[in-house]
Symmetry: C2
């Protein structure tokens, strides 16, 4: 995508941030809301995360139809839209629905922009903490209440020094769980329960490794752009492309990636 001009890049960044900005107040309206607060808004029972998911993605699609009518859209909640520009917005309005319904601030709004071979920019936004992790065109940032810092992955030479995250111990099939455990027993520390926030922590140089299975494209493209543009590496468990989801391994340091990959693919 070296043929994207500087002004085009700025426009794509602006649109991505506009999407994340639009998502925040909607997500926060439903996060930790009580049944009482929502009773007039919900016709079909108390399912705030589903309502939030659909409302946010609807609003994002409205913005894209206006701002980027030639781009495609792939989102969790509605049908794919084919584009003509070669660019596709890949949207997960609320990633980490279990975290969302539990009141834990580790879910996120995920936005990726796929140029055909994977994301060229992406955002992981956490509305409750007010943090926005982003990556694209060779730079990655963390922003919160007016403050913006460049972020980068951290060095980690060996798996025995690595902090590993996954959403839950039961990450997939028995084969996948066994593969994950081969890595986990060699890592310094394994933690669970963070959903997309774990990928953001890799990009920000706080942890070293995330391993998951059964992902969709919209689960990984936003986080992937943050990590890649912060200097990290995201592949599938065979070392191939991961931007369409499936079994994913994300690492800050290529050495840890390589050591974990050898154990996963054994």
């Amino acid at each position: 995508m070296s043929d994207i001009s500087k002004s085009q890049k700025a426009e794509l960044w602006n649109v991505a941030h506009e999407l994340a900005d639009a998502a925040r107040p909607i997500a926060l309206q439903y996060f930790r809301a009580s049944e009482q607060e929502l009773e007039n808004k919900l016709d079909q029972g108390f399912d705030p995360v589903t309502i939030a998911d659909k409302s946010i993605e609807g609003e994002m699609r409205r913005i894209l139809a206006e701002r980027r009518p030639d781009d495609g859209i792939m989102g969790e909640e509605y049908d794919d839209v084919a584009g003509t520009s070669g660019l596709t917005w890949v949207l997960d309005p609320i990633d980490g629905t279990r975290a969302f319904i539990s009141g834990t601030p580790t879910w996120g709004v995920l936005i990726g922009l796929d140029a055909g071979q994977g994301p060229i920019l992406g955002i992981v936004d956490q509305p409750f903490t007010g943090e926005r992790f982003s990556g694209g065109f060779g730079q990655a940032n963390w922003a919160r209440v007016g403050q913006t810092n460049t972020i980068s992955v951290r060095k980690c030479a060996t798996l025995s020094d690595a902090i590993l995250f996954s959403t839950m111990p039961d990450i997939g099939t028995a084969y996948e769980i066994a593969a994950f455990q081969r890595v986990s027993v060699q890592a310094k520390l394994t933690r669970y329960g963070t959903d997309c926030y774990a990928y953001a922590l890799v990009a920000a140089g706080q942890i070293d490794l995330v391993i998951e299975a059964g992902l969709n494209a919209f689960d990984i493209q936003g986080p992937m752009a943050c990590i890649q543009n912060a200097g990290g590496i995201v592949t599938d468990w065979q070392g191939g492309p991961a931007h369409m989801g499936g079994q994913v391994i994300a690492a800050g340091d290529a050495r840890v990636h390589s050591q974990a990959l050898a154990l996963l693919s054994r």
Copy 2:
């Protein structure tokens, strides 16, 4: 402790908040700090959570020596101090050190005030999100940037509707893991990785159940005060007192507590 006057209660609340206020900036100075940022501050290698732990508890003890010289102190980092007032401050400067070193905002500063039979007030403070959960003398609150809301546990009639949290799947001995699993398989959802923040979510009516083992008094007294004063129940796995730690079960609804207890103690 019905003999504590209204003005004494206000003073104890003020001191508890003063301790939490003092902890915040110290904790945030070390949370997510880079080696470079800390290199002038750390003589003995890069261990920010240990430094933060000791610095915070040192400052809390300095405040207590000045404000409450007759009270006892039980803390994670330094020796117990015997008091003469019958009241003991129970302090965990950074609960959730694994969360802290991973950059996850689910650790907390824990403050409890034990009158001999358990906490009469307590605080769970999360400096990064800016949230303070507190409970004492029959009331419980959630506060953030100037906003304060009363909190209470939520109703949950059956374990099959309950959201269960624990810090990690490997919660203790093989016996303890098996007991936990008996409850987990019957719960609607099990989540890991939240440390003290999970107890705060019970108090705030966001989740229903936390089960852990191997706790110390300073791990549980702050959270326990929040949950009890929000209408919940905290006991050991036999239904007895939990304020000295060990195997702990915390529930928002007594019905779920009873159903889980039957499985744990089987």
